[in-house]
């Protein structure tokens, strides 16, 4: 603060100044919509406020953005302005639209494919070197953005990034290993995270990019469904030695602290995390497993390779819409004993995250099994369980939308799979779980 500002005219004078101005009858209202910060990481909170609006009037706040594939995503909610003509999404309650109540980030996690879009979309960032650009608008009245006649009052644009400035992205094709390494800016060495996704396959970089933005060297690893990996692409053709090589690449990097490496896995990636920690002769410092099983019905080899995913349909269950749920495949009773990881060999702390509405993995049953096994082995101090009511399978970084159902495969037929999750509960779970994951990594990799 300035200790000695000389202000020669007090506020009363200003008011008189204004009163002296002749008001033109054509003086139209100029509403203002602000977002702060306008550029943010995907997990950062954005404050959205509308001002200079008519008091106690219905307005609609909506968000629109294009995915990297060119699909339009949008969300909207209905608010009533306050007596002072403002609306503040961190303070006010939505009374209609895609979410209800006070949800400061509802426009972000509430995104849905615009009406008329392709079926079964799931929002995933392909190019992490560019942001999502979201246009936020204020519309007059309580409307839906797809209505033909809406009046836009004001707008503001925001950028949502997975990658912080200075984060370096390096593609790895080494010793047969396919992945992408992200490094935070600075000399390092850094603690590291090995990042594994599920049987959807391919190389999914965004969570790893975000870990690097939080100060971790992170390695997003592909293990099926990638052109640079051995085919066919609907099964895992690499085994334990592959994951060991990947771990070593990370560990041997001069900018990585060799004994401060954690593994984060979702779904089948969680199973792989447990396998790597117990079977392949490496010693990570901690594991985060999200909605994954302790074994697999698909293994064909002791080293972890699998058969074609579609070959074994015994445990597939279809709902009345024809969408498949893979949940029963991972019921502990259905898991072949030889595929199960030896949890009693667990060398490090494990955080296991359960979405209680997971329709793709029997997460709670697997969590219980892990807990019992570790207790029997006298290792229950290694186990932290987080369980979220109403959350589905795909617990991702916060403020991103959940897909309850999405397209699983084209061939031999178009197949949609169920993930589960209620929008608001799932969003709350993502927000809380992400913070706890970062705290967990922080305490085991950086302290």
């Amino acid at each position: 603060m300035i200790s000695c500002i000389r202000v020669f005219r007090n506020l009363a004078c200003l008011h008189r100044a204004v009163a002296g101005v002749r008001w033109n009858s054509s003086f139209k209202p100029a509403p203002l919509l602000t977002a702060a910060p306008v550029r943010a990481l995907i997990d950062e909170h954005i404050s959205i406020k509308g001002r200079f609006l008519p008091p106690q009037s219905p307005i609609t706040v909506c968000a629109q953005m294009q995915s990297d594939e060119g699909d339009l995503w949008e969300s909207f909610a209905h608010y009533n302005t306050n007596a002072d003509g403002t609306v503040n999404l961190s303070r006010d309650h939505s009374v209609g639209g895609l979410y209800l109540g006070c949800e400061p980030m509802g426009l972000f996690w509430g995104l849905q494919p615009a009406p008329g879009s392709r079926e079964g979309l799931r929002l995933r960032k392909k190019n992490v070197e560019t942001p999502y650009v979201m246009l936020l608008s204020l519309l007059e009245g309580h409307v839906s953005p797809s209505e033909r006649k809406t009046t836009e009052l004001a707008a503001v644009s925001t950028e949502r990034w997975y990658m912080a400035p200075g984060v370096r992205r390096t593609e790895i094709r080494q010793d047969g290993v396919v992945g992408t390494l992200f490094f935070p800016p600075g000399p390092g060495p850094f603690p590291a995270v090995l990042d594994l996704w599920g049987m959807g396959g391919g190389l999914v970089e965004y969570r790893a990019a975000l870990f690097a933005s939080k100060g971790y060297a992170s390695f997003s690893l592909a293990y099926l469904g990638h052109k640079d990996l051995p085919g066919p692409h609907n099964r895992v053709n690499v085994g334990d030695p592959y994951f060991k090589s990947a771990y070593r690449i990370l560990q041997d990097h001069r900018q990585v602290v060799a004994d401060r490496i954690g593994i984060v896995g979702l779904s089948f990636g969680a199973y792989l995390s447990l396998r790597i920690a117990t079977r392949v002769g490496v010693k990570p410092s901690c594991l985060v497993c999200i909605n994954g099983p302790v074994g697999s019905t698909m293994l064909t080899h002791a080293d972890g390779r699998t058969e074609n995913f579609e070959n074994e349909q015994r445990y597939w269950r279809f709902d009345d819409q024809g969408c498949v749920s893979f949940k029963e495949m991972s019921l502990p009773a259905n898991l072949p004993p030889e595929s199960k990881v030896k949890l009693e060999d667990l060398p490090c702390p494990l955080m296991y995250i359960v979405g209680e509405d997971d329709l793709s993995t029997s997460s709670m049953e697997n969590a219980n099994l892990i807990e019992q096994t570790l207790r029997a082995a006298g290792k229950s101090q290694l186990f932290t369980l987080l369980s979220y009511p109403g959350a589905g399978h795909l617990i991702e970084p916060p403020y991103t939308p959940n897909s309850r159902v999405s397209l699983w495969s084209f061939k031999p037929r178009k197949l949609y799979t169920l993930w589960g999750g209620q929008p608001a509960s799932h969003a709350a779970a993502q927000q809380d779980a992400w913070k706890k994951i970062l705290d967990f990594l922080d305490s085991h990799l950086r302290r």
């Binding site: 603060m1 300035i2 000695c4 500002i5 000389r6 202000v7 020669f8 005219r9 004078c13 200003l14 008011h15 008189r16 100044a17 204004v18 009163a19 002296g20 101005v21 033109n24 003086f27 139209k28 100029a30 203002l32 910060p37 306008v38 550029r39 943010a40 990481l41 950062e44 200079f52 942001p131 650009v133 608008s137 004001a154 707008a155 503001v156 644009s157 950028e159 912080a164 400035p165 200075g166 800016p185 600075g186 000399p187 060495p189 933005s213 100060g215 602290v257 060799a258 004994d259 401060r260 410092s285 490090c348 702390p349 101090q381 290694l382 932290t384 705290d439 305490s443 950086r446 302290r447």
Partner: protein, 604 residues
Amino acid sequence: MGLLWSMRSVPGSCKGLRLRKTNVCTPQLVHISVYDGHVEEGFTERPPLASVLSERWFIGPGVRRVEVQEKGVRGTLFIPPGPGPFPGVMDMWGVRGGLVEYRSALLASHGYASRALQYFAAGELSSASKEFEYFEDFHPKERVQSGFKVRRRALGQLQSSLSRRGPAGDVSQTRPSSTMSSAAPPILSVVPSRALVDETFRVTVQNLPPSSAVTLHSLHRSEDEDLWEAYGHYVSDQRGSVSVADDFSFGGTYTGKEAMGLLWSMRPVPGSCKGLRLKKTNVCTPQLVHISVYDGHVEEGFTERPPLASVLSERWFIGPGVRRVEVQEKGVRGTLFIPPGPGPFPGVMDMWGGGGGLVEYRSALLASHGYASLALQYFAAGELSSASKEFEYFETAFNVIRLHPLVSPDRVGILGLCLGAVITNHLAAESSVIKPRCCVCVSGVHICPRGASLTGIYQALVANAHKTQVDENNQEIWRYRELPIPDDLAKKIDVGKINCPMLLVNGLDDQNLPTVEAAEDMAHMMRAAGKDHLLTRIEYPATGHLIEPPYSPHFRATKFIKQVILVWGGQTKPHSDAQEDSWKKILAFLQQHLYSNDPTGAKM
């Protein structure tokens, strides 16, 4: 908190007074009053506009005070509320002696069982004769005091023992110590990592050794490839953390608790050319600032030594979605920045000073705050001597923005700095063509020959060239060229004709123009014309001519044209404070007059 810490005994009091609370069970009563005008003395004789009473307590509610007289030990024990056991502190004062309780009371209010210990009578240092056993006896290993356990802890251990709880809370309890073989590297974070230039960031370092000396350093490579840097010397706390916003810099290009010191105290690295000024030309890219932490208190040679950690921060003038439109219309040259959204938006015509050229960054920032803003060029960079625009040019430019389909024609104001502010004054007072809704003049004057064009202004300036002074480095001080302020109405703008709200922002150490003298004269003229209600003046101490958007470095003197280095004035810290505060006030003024529908209800 200046109203407390700068307290002193009122004039006429005894000498050498010291304020010490004896009865800690009552509060200090402080009367806070507001008086009309800038008063320096005689407060008690005049009626305040309003007063309130503030209670300042050393002791929190529920803290218990127990007088101790046992085994010859004299003192007072303060116990926090709650069952305990509490960590304990033995609290001793110095050579004045006696029993001084207030710090102990405050410690107990923060959760420590604290014992104020007397070890000789007040004023009796010469007879102080306690043996060290006196202090040791008093400190039992563990005791039950008034039914509450007080655990013994050495003072030095206190903080670290309390901080041992990691930020992960209960999660960290599961960590086996075996995984922590190698030292954890320091963690440096800057949040947000991408920001507008007028937004603050939080710089923190964790995982340093406790109480270690570190240097935080910022480095920016300008578009001209010059290197700019700032640094501050810190000492990590008991947790091994440094927070730039909360901790003191003990040395460097800034000192004290300065959240943004790493930006505003930037200066060219040693060995750079003289008279550099940092100006962003390409507003579509961010300024990149590397923030690093170094071991020890470093003063030079940053580039040769490895930092402990580094991060990159992006500082933007332009928000996402702001459109940049080059304007070449009706002879007008400039760049229009339009906010995202349907509009129509309030508009601002934005002019810089005698350096000339097209300077876009302030306009880009204004558009990021919701204004369609036209950065207007009115002569080529460095060509002040050939600047010859007539005032019609500015009227045409004003109408270009006013009549833009995305601009609200009734809500257009003018913002000018230096020569741009002179032109703003002229347009506001003399133009019969345009009617700005409000004007902001930063570091401007109203001196301008009646009916003159820019050529006339320049010629008047040249005619006074002999009044130029130089400082000890042969850098030119121009403010005396315009002094004294002419009485002759033919030589100045008749600001009494101004009909819109006018905000004057000036620095009291402006060495380039006599802005404060001019503001005084303008106020006089406007008052005489019954217009003083339109005028708001803000003047900042130790502040120079170039009052830029916040956290921009301070330039006391920079190269102007050819071999001329001009002194702008100002001291870095107060000048930077002025930049931060004036920008907030400018935005509030624009919002009140250009956005608000009910300006009488708006707050400045």
